[in-house]
C-alpha cells in the first residue's frame, strides 16, 4: 500500500567503517562459505541448487517440529501420499534445466522478444498477404483450437501440480513448465489477434467454436480436460508431459505445423510454434529425469513401473484416440507435404524412445 517510489525526506546516518568484509579476521568458520546442509549432486553445489534446495522443508530433513498447520483430514506441508509413486529419496531429483530466478526471466523474455520481432517484421512485410484461403482457414481453426489446450494445461495441470510434489526442486521445475505453457498459449492468442487485424479475412473468433464443437478437436479437448481432472499429481504430470505431449502435442506442433507451414507460404507460424517446441523439449527433460529417478529407484523401481504402466493403460488409448480424431485436418491445407500416417509414426517413435528409456512397456495401442 505504500508507494515506495516516493523518497522520504530523511537524514541518513553517517556511514561508518566497520571492516565487516570477508577475510578481515580469522576465527572458527570464517571461511565457511557454502551452504552446508545438503549434498550437491556433483562436487560443488550449483547456483540452482543453492537457491532451491531445502527451501521447502521436510520432516525427513531437519524439520524437527513437523508441519505446524494441517488440513482438516491430513497433515499439512507436502504429504508423500499425494501420489502413488514412491521414492527412496525424493530430494535426489535435480532439474536438468537448473531453473531459477535468472534463467526463468532471461529465457522467457528472450522468447517474447524473438516473437515480437517476428510479428512486427511480418506485419511490415505484409507476410500474411501471401496466404491462400485454405491456409488461413487452417490456422484460424486449428492453431486457434490448440491454444486452448496449452492454456488449460498451463493453468490446471502445471500450476496446480506445483503445489503438490514433495520437494522444492520438483515443484519449481513444474512451476516453470506452467510459465512456459501460459506464455505460449498467450503468444498464440496474440498471433491470432494480429492475424485478425491483418486484412486477410482471418476470423479471430472461430477458434472457440472449433475447440468446443469441431469433431476433429473433441478428442483433444476431452484428453486435456481429463488431464486437468487427474488428482494424483505425478499421474497428471506423466500423462501430460510423457503421453499427451508425445502423442498429440509433438504430433500437432512438430510433425504437422513445423513440416507444412513453409510449403504453404507461412514463415511466421514455425517461428512461434518452434518456441513452444523448444519449451517442451526443456520440460520433457526434467520430466524424464524425474520419472527415470522413480523407475530406477532401488527399492521402489519395480512398483513404480507397475503404476506407470497402469497409467499408460489409461492414458495411451485416450491420446491415441485424440491423435486419430485429428486426422482430417491433415487434408485441409493445399500443400499437404506429409501424411497423417507419417506424422503419427514419427510421434510414436519419439514416444517409444521415451518409454524405452524409462524401462516401461510399449502399449499395444502403439502398434495398431
Amino acid at each position: 500500500m505504500v508507494d515506495i517510489t516516493v523518497s522520504k525526506e530523511r537524514s541518513f546516518p553517517k556511514q561508518e567503517f566497520t571492516d565487516s568484509e570477508a577475510g578481515a579476521l580469522v576465527f572458527p568458520s570464517s571461511t565457511s562459505r557454502s551452504y552446508n546442509y545438503f549434498k550437491p549432486a556433483k562436487l560443488r553445489a550449483t547456483m540452482y541448487e543453492d537457491v532451491t534446495f531445502d527451501v521447502q522443508p521436510d520432516p525427513d530433513r531437519h524439520l524437527s517440529q513437523g508441519w505446524i498447520y494441517g488440513f482438516a483430514n491430513g497433515p499439512g506441508g507436502y504429504p508423500k501420499d499425494w501420489t502413488k509413486l514412491v521414492s527412496s529419496d525424493w530430494h535426489q531429483f535435480r532439474d536438468p534445466n537448473e531453473e531459477w530466478e535468472k534463467t526463468i526471466f532471461r529465457n522467457n523474455a528472450a522468447v517474447v522478444r524473438q516473437i515480437s520481432l517476428s510479428l512486427e517484421n511480418a506485419k511490415r512485410a505484409k507476410a500474411y498477404s501471401h496466404w491462400n484461403s485454405s491456409w488461413t482457414r487452417f490456422i484460424e481453426r486449428n492453431l486457434g483450437a490448440w491454444m486452448h489446450a496449452e492454456n488449460g494445461l498451463g493453468l490446471h495441470v502445471f500450476t496446480a501440480v506445483q503445489r503438490s510434489a514433495p520437494t522444492n526442486m520438483i515443484n519449481n521445475a513444474v512451476a516453470v513448465n506452467a510459465a512456459h505453457k501460459l506464455r505460449f498459449a498467450q503468444d498464440l492468442a496474440l498471433f491470432n489477434l494480429d492475424l485478425s487485424e491483418s486484412d486477410i479475412g482471418f476470423d479471430g473468433s472461430v477458434h472457440k467454436d472449433v475447440w468446443k464443437n469441431d469433431p476433429a478437436w473433441q478428442g483433444v479437448r476431452e484428453n486435456v480436460e481429463r488431464l486437468t481432472a487427474a488428482g494424483d499429481w505425478a499421474e497428471a504430470l506423466f500423462a501430460t508431459n510423457i503421453v499427451f505431449e508425445c502423442l498429440v502435442g509433438v504430433l500437432f506442433r512438430s510433425d504437422l505445423l513445423m513440416q507444412i507451414s513453409a510449403r504453404n507460404g507461412d514463415y511466421i507460424t514455425p517461428t512461434i510454434v518452434g518456441t513452444g517446441e523448444n519449451d517442451y523439449s526443456r520440460d520433457l527433460g526434467y520430466t524424464r529425469a524425474l520419472f527415470a529417478m522413480l523407475t530406477r529407484d532401488e527399492n521402489h523401481g519395480a512398483a513404480n513401473k507397475a503404476v506407470l504402466n497402469s497409467w499408460l493403460a489409461t492414458w495411451v488409448p485416450q491420446s491415441i484416440t485424440a491423435a486419430r480424431e485429428l486426422q482430417p485436418i491433415w487434408s485441409q491445407p493445399n500443400e499437404k507435404v506429409i501424411t497423417f500416417a507419417d506424422s503419427l509414426e514419427s510421434a510414436k517413435n519419439t514416444f517409444r524412445t521415451v518409454l524405452g528409456e524409462l524401462g516401461l512397456n510399449i502399449p499395444k495401442e502403439l502398434d495398431s
Binding site: M1, V2, R10, S11, P13, Q15, E16, D19, S20, E21, A24, L25, P28, S29, T31, Y35, N36, Y37, D54, V55, P57, R61, H62, L63, Q65, W67, I68, Y69, G70, A72, G76, G77, E101, I104, F105, R106, N108, V112, H148, N151, G152, H156, T159, A160, Q162, R163, N172, R183, Q186, L190, N192, H207, K208, K212, E225, T228, A229, A230, G231, A236
Partner: protein, 551 residues
C-alpha cells in the same frame, strides 16, 4: 505496448478459457466459502508478453546492484549488529515466498471465475522469483560478510529452530486448511496487503541506514510485484463478500489472520528494526511509528475500514489491541529480550545494547529504561564465557516464559496469558485471540455451522518439548549450531570475533539442563498449576518474576 493494444491483447487472452464438458479440474483443496460463477472483471491486466521483459529488466537492476556492492566493498561499511539478524530473517523469508507460489492453485481451485485465474498464475511465477532471488542475496552475504556462520546452515537452522518455527507460520498458513482462509485472507488480504509494508519497505530503509544497500535493492524489487498480488486478493475478497453466507467465515478469518500476522511479523520485524540497528538518530522512526503509519493508517484505515460498507466485519478491537501491545505493552521489547535470553540456541549473534541505544529507546518509548535497562546491562556484563553461564541460566530477574500454543511466540505480556485444557492437554496462549484461534477457529465447526475444510494446528508446537531435560551442549550439537572447529558456537551474545577467549564453546554449555515449561505445567497438580499460573500472570514486564514485579 500502447494502452489500447494492451486492452485488446488482454481481451484476447480471456478467450483462452472455456467451460469444460468432459471433466472438470481436480479439486485438491476445499473451501467452506461459496462463490457464484458470474463473470468477474479480471483484477489486473497482465500479459506474459509484457510481464517477462519487465521482470527481466528489474532483475538486471538487481544483479547490477549486486556486482556494484561487491566492487564497491559494501561490506566494509555494514553493521554487524544488523547483518547478524539477517541470518534469521533471510532463513525464514524464502519459504513464505515459495509458499505463496504454492498457494495460487488453491485459490484457483476455490474460485470458479477464470477471469482471475490468469493473475493468480502470474503471481505464482513472481513468488518463485522472490524466493530464489532472496536465497541468492543470502548467498552473497555468506560469501562476502565477515562471519558466514549461520548463513552457511540457513535452511537447516530455519527448520529446527524455535524462531524459525514462529516464522514458518507465515508460509504454512498460506498453504493449508481452507483454501480461501489460507490463500486469500491470510496470504493476500492480510500478509501481503498489510505486512509486506513492514517487511519490504521498513526493513530495507533500516538496512540502508546500517550500510547495507543491497537488501533495499532486492526487496524493493520484490515489493514492486506486490500491488498486483494485492489486487488479486481484493477481487476474491469482493467476490466472497457477495454471498451473505461467507460473512461469518470472513469475520473469523480476518480475526485469525490479522492477529497471527501481528504476533509473528511484528515480533520478528519489530526486533530487527529496533534491536538490529545502529541508527539512533532521534528523527529516525521507531517501529511503532512506522507501524502507525503503514499498518494503522494505510492498511487499516484506508483499505480495511472502507470494506465495511460491503458487509465486512472489521476486527477493530484487534487492530487497537495490536497497537496497544506494540506501544504500551512493550511487545517488541519483550520479544527482543526473549531472543537475546535464548542466544545459545540461535544461529546468529546478538550485539549488546549500549548507552546510546538506551537513550534512544527511552526517547521513543518513555519508561523503557526502568523496565529493560537493567536486564540489558546484565546481558552486557555476562557476554563473555569463563566466569558465568549464559544469561538464561544466571539470576537476572527473568522467568523463562511459557510459549503460546497458537502463534508460538512466548506469552511475554505475562498478565495476558490464557491457560486452558484443550484436547487433553494444558496449553498456554499469549492472548485471548490466540486461545480462540486454537479452541474455536481451527475446528470442524464454527458458531454452529460445519466447517469441514478448516485447517488444524498440528506438530510439536512447543519447541522446548523436543529438548526437555537434555544437556544444553547436546542440544546445540544436534541442532548443528557449531562452527567448523567443532566446538565454538555459531551464536554469541556479542560481536567480538578478535579474541578466541571471548567466544563461547560447547564446553561452556556442558552440564546445563534444559527444560520444557509446557511439560512441567502438565505435570503439576491442579493446585500447583493454578498457583503457578496466577503467579506467572503477576510477573513482568521484562520477564521479572512476580515477587519482584513492578517498578
Amino acid at each position: 505496448m500502447s494502452r489500447q493494444s494492451l486492452t485488446k491483447a488482454h481481451q484476447k487472452i480471456t478467450e483462452l478459457s472455456w467451460e469444460p464438458t468432459f471433466a472438470t479440474p481436480a479439486t485438491r483443496f476445499g473451501t467452506d466459502y461459496k462463490f457464484d460463477k458470474a463473470p468477474k472483471k479480471d483484477p489486473l491486466k497482465q500479459i506474459m508478453r509484457s510481464y517477462f521483459p519487465m521482470e527481466e529488466e528489474k532483475d538486471n537492476r538487481v544483479f547490477g546492484a549486486m556486482d556494484g556492492a561487491i566492487r564497491g566493498n559494501m561490506f566494509r561499511q555494514v553493521q554487524q549488529r544488523w547483518m547478524e539478524w539477517q541470518k534469521l530473517f533471510l532463513s525464514i523469508i524464502p519459504f513464505p515466498e515459495i509458499s505463496a507460489a504454492r498457494a495460487m492453485p488453491m485459490a484457483i481451485d476455490a474460485v470458479p471465475n477464470p477471469e482471475i485465474h490468469n493473475g493468480l498464475a502470474v503471481q505464482m511465477i513472481d513468488e518463485v522469483r522472490h524466493s530464489t532471488i532472496q536465497m541468492n542475496l543470502k548467498k552473497l552475504y555468506m560469501n562476502h560478510y565477515i562471519d558466514p556462520a549461520g548463513f552457511d546452515i540457513t535452511e537447516k537452522a530455519f527448520a529446527n529452530n524455535y524462531a524459525g518455527t514462529i516464522g514458518r507460520q507465515f508460509g504454512e498458513g498460506f498453504i493449508t486448511g481452507d483454501a480461501i482462509t489460507a490463500a486469500n485472507i491470510y496470504l493476500t488480504v492480510v500478509a501481503e496487503t498489510a505486512f509486506t509494508n513492514t517487511l519490504f519497505v521498513a526493513m530495507p530503509d533500516e538496512a540502508a541506514a546500517n550500510g547495507d544497500y543491497l537488501l533495499p535493492t532486492v526487496f524493493h524489487s520484490v515489493q514492486s510485484d506486490e500491488s498486483r498480488h494485492i489486487s488479486n486478493g481484493y477481487s476474491i475478497l469482493l467476490m466472497a463478500l457477495a454471498d451473505e453466507d461467507n460473512r461469518v467465515l470472513l469475520e473469523r478469518d480476518l480475526r485469525y489472520a490479522w492477529w497471527n500476522n501481528h504476533c509473528v511479523v511484528d515480533a520478528a520485524v519489530g526486533t530487527f528494526i529496533e534491536y538490529g540497528t545502529k541508527d539512533r538518530r532521534k528523527e529516525r522512526d521507531s517501529y511503532a511509528e512506522m507501524w502507525r503509519r503503514w499498518i494503522y493508517d494505510d492498511y487499516y484505515r484506508s483499505y480495511l475500514v472502507p470494506l465495511e460498507k460491503y458487509g465486512l466485519k472489521i476486527p477493530h478491537d484487534l487492530v487497537e489491541e495490536a497497537w496497544n501491545r506494540i506501544y504500551n505493552k512493550g511487545y517488541v521489547h519483550e520479544v527482543a529480550q526473549f531472543f537475546a535470553t535464548g542466544w545459545p540456541v540461535n544461529y546468529w549473534r546478538i550485539d549488546p545494547m549500549t548507552d546510546v541505544d538506551f537513550e534512544w529507546f527511552e526517547h521513543k518509548y518513555p519508561g523503557w529504561y526502568s523496565k529493560y535497562g537493567k536486564w540489558w546491562e546484565n546481558y552486557n556484563r555476562l557476554r563473555y564465557p569463563g566466569k558465568n553461564k549464559p544469561i538464561a541460566f544466571e539470576d537476572v530477574d527473568y522467568q523463562y516464559p511459557h510459549r503460546c500454543w497458537t502463534c508460538m511466540v512466548p506469552a511475554l505480556i505475562r498478565e495476558d496469558m490464557v491457560t486452558e485444557k484443550v484436547d487433553g492437554q494444558w496449553r498456554t496462549y499469549c492472548s485471548e485471540t490466540c486461545a480462540w484461534t486454537d479452541i474455536k477457529a481451527f475446528r470442524p465447526e464454527y458458531e454452529g455451522r460445519a466447517t469441514p475444510n478448516m485447517g488444524r494446528l498440528t506438530g510439536h508446537r512447543e519447541w522446548e518439548t523436543l529438548h526437555h531435560n537434555r544437556d544444553l551442549a547436546d542440544i546445540i550439537t544436534d541442532l548443528g549450531y557449531v562452527r567448523d572447529d567443532g566446538k565454538t558456537l555459531i551464536p554469541q551474545p556479542h560481536l567480538d570475533l578478535d579474541d578466541p577467549k571471548k567466544l563461547w564453546t560447547l564446553e561452556d554449555m556442558r552440564g546445563i539442563p534444559f527444560g520444557s515449561p509446557n511439560i512441567l505445567l502438565n505435570e503439576m497438580s491442579d493446585a500447583d498449576r493454578e498457583a503457578h499460573v496466577a503467579e506467572y500472570k503477576l510477573g513482568g514486564p521484562a520477564g521479572r518474576p512476580a515477587a519482584k514485579a513492578g517498578v
